[in-house]
Symmetry: C4
Subunit: 198 residues, 4 copies
């Protein structure tokens, strides 16, 4: 019951974050082609962020299906997760307006890293709330989180060197790639654990 | 179960898009009649967008009723759909502020076209997720999508010629007209397919 | 089933409208008392609008409980209702920034009138969707709508005359007063009609 | 049934309030480190407000679980609660932009006090709506509300004296601390009262 409200609140926050990012892409000043083209960097950064926030929403969606009840730890892990996610509109806009400058890129990658870290914390809180040996084992053996962390750290390093700075964004999307297809480990174990829970 | 959350998230995003558009109609500068009248073009563009986004919401509403379960393809088709929809506040505001200039009008129609295209993609994903011969047949035989596409392409052409540019907006509303009454093909087949599914 | 989504969407839009109005009360420029006091007119207009939108939400809430199913007419009446409601943030802000000047006050009252008119339209659509003789009779005999209309028209007249312009706002709140306690006619008939419907 | 809609609406408003606060942390002007560091005060005030609004959401969540039905009094107490909450984005932004100046700090604490007061009002309305002797007794004997009130009044006093002004923010977070773990009195009695209600 309380899970429904946690989902609804999270959906509300994520929906606002994803929609508000477009608002920071200001309306073109003037009616000419240059006015439109000047928004191109913002449109690119919006696309990258949309993919990342969208991937997060899809995975959050699957993660919460595993949770059978919500405790205080999950509530606060989820709030911390939404907190880190809420920086996306500002960093996206900063990156776009400065035409992917060095510091904004570094900050953008750092926020993405923090954001992924908070997701893993939430995942831990939910997985540990269930006394399911199989689920814990499957999650511990998995290398998926490590791969994404490694790719995002590489993106962070690239952000410091101007010639390969563009690679930071490619790496971020690459790091999100294993999560685009919702987490099958979860669903798999979810069905199995349902045998034990009910 | 997961369908409920997809609907809630989409409703959140569409609600924000539709409401945020009004915010881009800035508060009049000054307290006189000219200040108010200067907002007229923005009010007209807001009205057109409200009709278009409203029509989309009504149809999205009916479309998802057909879906019996949600897979990764539907999740991402829906996210792409919301992505294209999220450009409405910016293009609406651009069109209003430039008093329906040429390029803004063209961009507005292009976004509408892209948006309708993403809707048809989502429709395909949902229809194909159901192994319902009748539904697939009914949807394939239908000319409704082609008519709207044709009208919107005509709107695109009109947007390039100043004397008939106003016709672009009339055509967009016309193109939405067959969708104002929610899609009866869906409901009809929905009831029939319920006989097979349950 | 579809009613739930209509409610969720409306709640989303109303929640955004009510929250976004505060955003148009800009952050004070400076840190002194004058900076704070300069926001007083905006705070007053925000309070009036909060009462009016809040009252609308409470009544919308009760109105939809009566609806047993949702047809296309109700969907579009509801969208028109949300459309008129969406002008509140802009008119509230205009009225506050111009210190309750004449034209902004008139426009504010006109939007309130239009808004109440769209509410009555939605009420008609919902009441007529039910074949309940008692409900139709109770609603037709009621003078509640007429009283509020009369008070709001009086507010409109007052808005034209500077010495009594403040009375417009008092009258608007007065006009909302009979709706602050949710509509008992509805609940009463709702319970009765439940006897016939189920 | 109606409780669900009250929760959904409140979630929508709180989600918007919490997300919109980040928007008032403007995008850095420029791409250098100074531009980023100039946002530090805003980031700190955002963090404090996120903790406070997050704590409120968690407790609102638990409070409404106790309510078995919603009456007009609860509806309006909840609207007043959301009204006071809606000032957070503006005061947070003001405090951050003025680098925690005296008047903004005082106003921030006053809004927090008003906000907590409106929460206690809502709690009363919900507790009294249930004819549960145990619940009323437990709530009346509790000192939790008084402790938080006392700490927030102390924060108000500190806000007037520059050398200890920073303590106001520490005290506000301290005052929220007993509420970070959701209210166990509620849950405890909720389970007991369920024995009588059903």
């Amino acid at each position: 019951m309380t899970k429904g409200r946690l989902e609804a609140f999270s959906d509300g926050v994520i929906a606002i974050i994803i929609t508000i990012t477009i608002l920071l892409i200001q309306v073109p000043e003037g009616e000419g082609l240059e006015a439109l083209l000047s928004l191109l960097p913002l449109a690119v950064s919006y696309l990258v962020s949309f993919i990342m926030v969208g991937t997060h929403w899809v995975n959050h969606h699957h993660l919460l299906q595993v949770a059978s009840h919500v405790n205080g730890k999950i509530l606060w892990a989820n709030l911390f997760y939404l907190f880190t996610l809420s920086f996306f509109p500002v960093t996206t806009s900063w990156v776009g307006r400065t035409h992917f400058a060095q510091l904004p890129t570094t900050v953008y990658v750092l926020i993405s890293l923090l954001e992924f870290f908070s997701y893993v914390l939430l995942q831990q809180a939910i997985v540990h709330s269930k006394d399911c040996v199989i689920l814990n084992q499957v999650m511990d053996e998995s290398k998926k989180e490590l791969i994404t962390f490694a790719i995002e750290v590489l993106a962070l390093i690239c952000s410091f060197f101007t010639p390969v700075r563009w690679a930071s964004y490619v790496l971020l999307v690459l790091g999100a790639a294993p999560w685009i297809v919702p987490d099958l480990r979860m669903s798999m174990v979810y069905e199995q654990s349902a045998l034990y829970d009910d």
